[in-house]
């Protein structure tokens, strides 16, 4: 088992799993709601998706702030020595890409919603500002990007999970336990 100094903090672990659940749930909700034809249910789900998206954005900001103020543990030396250079690069690039998309996906959704003339009103009570103008051409241009970025995020999540499973099941190096609660 990794020593305490090699672990993520309990806060980092909690934020990781909370956002993991949120991102998987939001991806599924996004796929489901866009498959529906217009109905009050669809309208409701779209609004819930927007509210949850704002929460994901907020939690991601909190998570990034935590990461910047609480240095994550280095990869254990024994593991790094066994990793070819491309794997070390992939490890860093995947994490950088994930963090970039934690912000890009919800921000693009927010921008599209604003441009289309549907400002976000959090929980139906708190109007959020529009940071792009209401413009139909802009809305049409932005619309596919929210989806494309979400698919890119999903692809990186799959890669991230495969990497973690390889360490757990193939390398059997216990790396996964750094991201779980424990002593």
């Amino acid at each position: 088992m990794p020593r305490p100094s090699e672990r993520y903090t309990a806060t980092a672990v909690a934020l990781h799993w909370l956002l993991a659940l949120a991102i998987v749930g939001m991806f599924a909700l996004g796929l489901y709601m866009t498959s529906l034809s217009m109905s009050p249910t669809r309208l409701k789900l779209y609004n819930w998706h927007k509210w949850a998206g704002i929460l994901v954005l907020t939690l991601s900001a909190a998570r990034l702030l935590w990461r910047l103020t609480h240095r994550p543990p280095e990869l254990p030396g024994a593991i790094v020595r066994h990793m070819p250079a491309w794997q070390r690069f992939a490890h860093h690039a995947t994490h950088a890409g994930l963090y970039l998309l934690f912000f890009a996906v919800p921000l693009m959704g927010w921008a599209y919603s604003s441009a289309a003339g549907f400002p976000i009103v959090l929980f139906g009570v708190l109007p959020l500002p529009d940071f792009v103008p209401v413009n139909r051409e802009l809305a049409e241009a932005l619309k596919p990007w929210h989806g494309w970025l979400a698919y890119a995020l999903a692809a990186l999540v799959v890669l991230h999970v495969l990497g973690a499973l390889k360490h757990q099941l193939v390398d059997r190096d216990g790396l996964l336990s750094r991201m779980w609660f424990g002593r």
């Binding site: 609004n47 003339g117 549907f118 139906g124």
Partner: protein
């Protein structure tokens, strides 16, 4: 020559005899009819691209005024193309059956300071309701601009029927705002 002259005199006589409002015309490019509906607390703005007015109005004799309106419901913009495709359906405007909304004034009351109160009947989707609309007039360079706003209850006109009648999803109140530029209105 004599015929032409007679014709001209007759025409002039007719023009003079005709009431002053005969030439009141809407200037569509400077006019606007917009509305705001709320979906789960989200204000969504729309507007009508095509509408016309038939106005016979002398600010000094408001009691003789006749104001009529037709709005092409199929010309509404509202958020996305997806929503607009929904708007023409039977649950909403049902434009194939009811292409136009109409307003016919019944009485106009002067409130002073260029302000008037127009009462009349608004008919949408085969449902007629009495409405009272406050209107403010300003005049500049031969153009009279009438602005005002009022709130209508969409369910009174069965706009958003069936599963959409739930006002927790789409609010019953719809704010309507208008700015109408007219030429030929006598001075205030």
């Amino acid at each position: 020559m004599i015929k032409t002259l007679t014709g001209a005199v007759l025409a002039a006589g007719l023009l003079m005899a005709a009431p002053a409002f005969a030439q009141q015309k809407l200037v569509p490019a400077q006019s606007e009819i917009a509305f705001t509906s709320r979906q789960l607390g989200v204000p969504v703005d729309g507007r009508f691209k095509r509408f016309d007015a038939q106005v016979a109005f002398d600010p000094k004799k408001p009691e003789t005024a006749k104001i009529g309106f037709t709005v092409e419901l199929g010309s509404a913009t509202l958020g996305s193309a997806e929503v607009e495709a929904e708007l023409v359906k039977p649950e909403w405007f049902n434009t194939p059956k009811f292409p136009q909304a109409t307003f016919t004034s019944r009485s106009v009351k002067a409130l002073g300071g260029g302000k008037f109160e127009v009462a009349g009947q608004l008919s949408i989707k085969g449902n007629a309701r009495d409405v009272v609309v406050p209107v403010a007039l300003t005049q500049a360079g031969g153009t009279t601009t009438a602005t005002g706003q009022f709130t209508l209850q969409r369910l009174a006109f069965k706009i958003g029927d069936g599963e959409w009648a739930d006002t927790s999803m789409v609010a019953n109140d719809v704010q309507v705002r208008f700015k109408l530029a007219l030429t030929g209105v006598p001075a205030l």
